[in-house]
């Protein structure tokens, strides 16, 4: 019931944002620790892939949390009826959305950094010094790509159902199909093809390359792919309909 957790978390954070950072930080650390620990240990037990495979996959996978914030923001604006005013304003749309998304991107980054720190400190993941820049870039790309998903969900949720339920749903599909926990080659052919359209798949793969010691150039193509996917979603959902 991540949606409750997340809703609670956001209201909790709203409540304590300035008062006391400690509960906020506890929450922030607990999320990735729980998710990362659960899947990493299942992975270890299954023995299909090395531990680092699951650690990196799920650390990048925490980017999906960003989708909750973004989709909720869009849904809220639609509900309040401010969206059309924003879109009708003479100011260029894309910067508006990026401005609004910046907060969520930062939020997502903190999430992933916490997850990665836990992977390193608790589970002994080793990230080569040369790979750090690459991993951070992969995280940034992952967050931006997920922001695109969040926008899409916010738009769709208006028509279909509850944003939170939808975001949970999306999170699960992304975690299953992005290769975070299951190598894409193991998925049935059709599903593996769909997985290529998931805006996290390449970020996860790139991050694994960097952690494995590959040069920055090696993953750049993958990252550009996800960035393009994210940009496509952003463009489509910010253009007038």
């Amino acid at each position: 019931m991540r949606l409750f957790t997340v809703t609670a978390f956001y209201s909790f954070r709203a409540l304590f944002r300035w008062l006391s950072p400690m509960p906020y930080l506890c929450f922030r650390a607990l999320f990735p620790l729980a998710q990362l620990g659960f899947f990493a240990l299942i992975g270890t037990y299954g023995g299909g892939q090395p531990l680092s495979f699951y650690l990196v996959g799920n650390a990048i996978g925490t980017a999906t949390l960003t989708a909750f914030g973004v989709s909720q923001a869009v849904a809220d604006e639609r509900q309040q009826g401010t969206l059309s005013y924003l879109l009708a304003a003479p100011a260029p749309r894309v910067p508006i959305f990026f401005g609004r998304a910046a907060l969520h991107v930062a939020d997502g980054m903190i999430n992933m950094i916490a997850a990665l720190a836990i992977a390193v400190m608790v589970f002994g993941l080793r990230v080569p010094v040369d790979g750090i820049v690459g991993v951070v870039v992969a995280m940034l790309v992952a967050t931006i790509a997920i922001c695109g998903v969040g926008l899409l969900l916010g738009a769709v949720a208006y028509i279909v159902l509850d944003t939170a339920v939808l975001a949970n749903f999306a999170m699960f599909i992304i975690l299953l199909l992005s290769g975070a926990n299951v190598p894409l080659a193991e998925l049935p052919g059709v599903v593996a093809a769909i997985a290529q359209g998931i805006p996290l798949t390449r970020s996860v793969a790139a991050a694994r390359l960097y952690v494995g010691g590959a040069s920055f150039d090696a993953g750049i193509g993958l990252l550009l792919g996800d960035l393009a996917l994210g940009a496509f979603q952003l463009a489509r959902n910010t253009s007038p309909t």
């Binding site: 909790f12 299909g48 699960f172």
Partner: protein, 260 residues
């Protein structure tokens, strides 16, 4: 006693109708276990001693746990939200029995996870269903459900009495999946955590159900698991009954039964 049982049954039925259309609950019972089941099936099938029933049982437990964690910690606040809390409190009926019955209704609903988990194993992945000890599994399931229901009953007043605790409760989903050995043995956890897991009803639920499904546990091992399942659940239930009294007393002192 029979009157209390009747009231509990009616409460369960009322709640059953209320939650049957609840999207959130549907999520906990169906969608989340579907994801957990499919993902772990892929992740665990590389093991030489892989038993699909292990994933089926673990997935079912994860669904039941999520449902009871969420429904339990929201049980009282849900009544406050609908405005019926005052009516329940001012009726001569036992508040504990009423909420207990309602949570039982949700618990029955959560068994859908078990059906779903079997479906994942047999339909999606095409594994044959092999239950080593079906009778013992049924007993284990019954006791597990009772103990997890007791845990939910413990959460209900806790979430009202201490709101911060209540918010943290909701985060206890994945940690309990991990601590209770639903989908991997707790021996993989750091040594110091293992004794903590032994205090949790979900841990004994997993021991009993995995043990009966795989046949790895003989009857004495099962009896031990059943005993601890009832013991841990019973302790939580006794504490819960005290907390329920405390909730009402405190609310009558502070005037917080209405939504305000």
């Amino acid at each position: 006693m029979t009157a209390a049982l009747r009231l509990a049954r009616q409460s369960a039925w009322v709640n059953f109708q209320e939650v049957a259309v609840n999207g959130f609950l549907l999520f906990a019972v169906v969608w989340q276990p579907l994801f957990v089941g499919v993902t772990t099936m892929y992740m665990l099938r590389h093991r030489a001693d892989f038993d699909p029933m292990y994933v089926v049982v673990g997935t079912a437990l994860s669904g039941i746990w999520s449902t009871l964690l969420f429904a339990g910690s929201g049980a009282i606040s849900h009544e406050r939200w609908t405005g019926t809390l005052e009516l329940l409190a001012a009726s001569p009926a036992s508040f504990f029995v009423v909420i207990g019955g309602k949570l039982a209704g949700t618990t029955i609903f959560s068994l859908g996870s078990l059906v779903l988990a079997f479906g994942i194993g047999t339909v999606l992945f095409g594994y044959p269903v092999k239950i080593a000890e079906p009778g013992w599994l049924a007993v284990s399931l019954l006791l597990a459900v009772v103990a997890l229901w007791a845990t939910g009953m413990f959460f209900a007043p806790l979430a009202i009495l201490w709101r911060t605790v209540g918010r943290f409760l909701l985060v206890l989903e994945y940690p309990v999946f991990a601590l209770s050995g639903f989908l991997f043995p707790v021996l993989l956890l750091p040594n110091w955590i293992v004794p903590i897991t032994n205090l949790l009803p979900p841990y004994w639920a997993a021991v009993a159900m995995h043990g009966a499904a795989s046949g790895d546990l003989d009857l004495s091992g099962l009896l031990r698991a059943w005993f601890f399942l009832l013991l841990t659940g019973g302790v939580l239930l006794v504490i819960a009954s005290r907390l329920f009294v405390e909730v009402l007393t405190r609310a009558r002192r502070a005037g917080t039964l209405a939504l305000s």
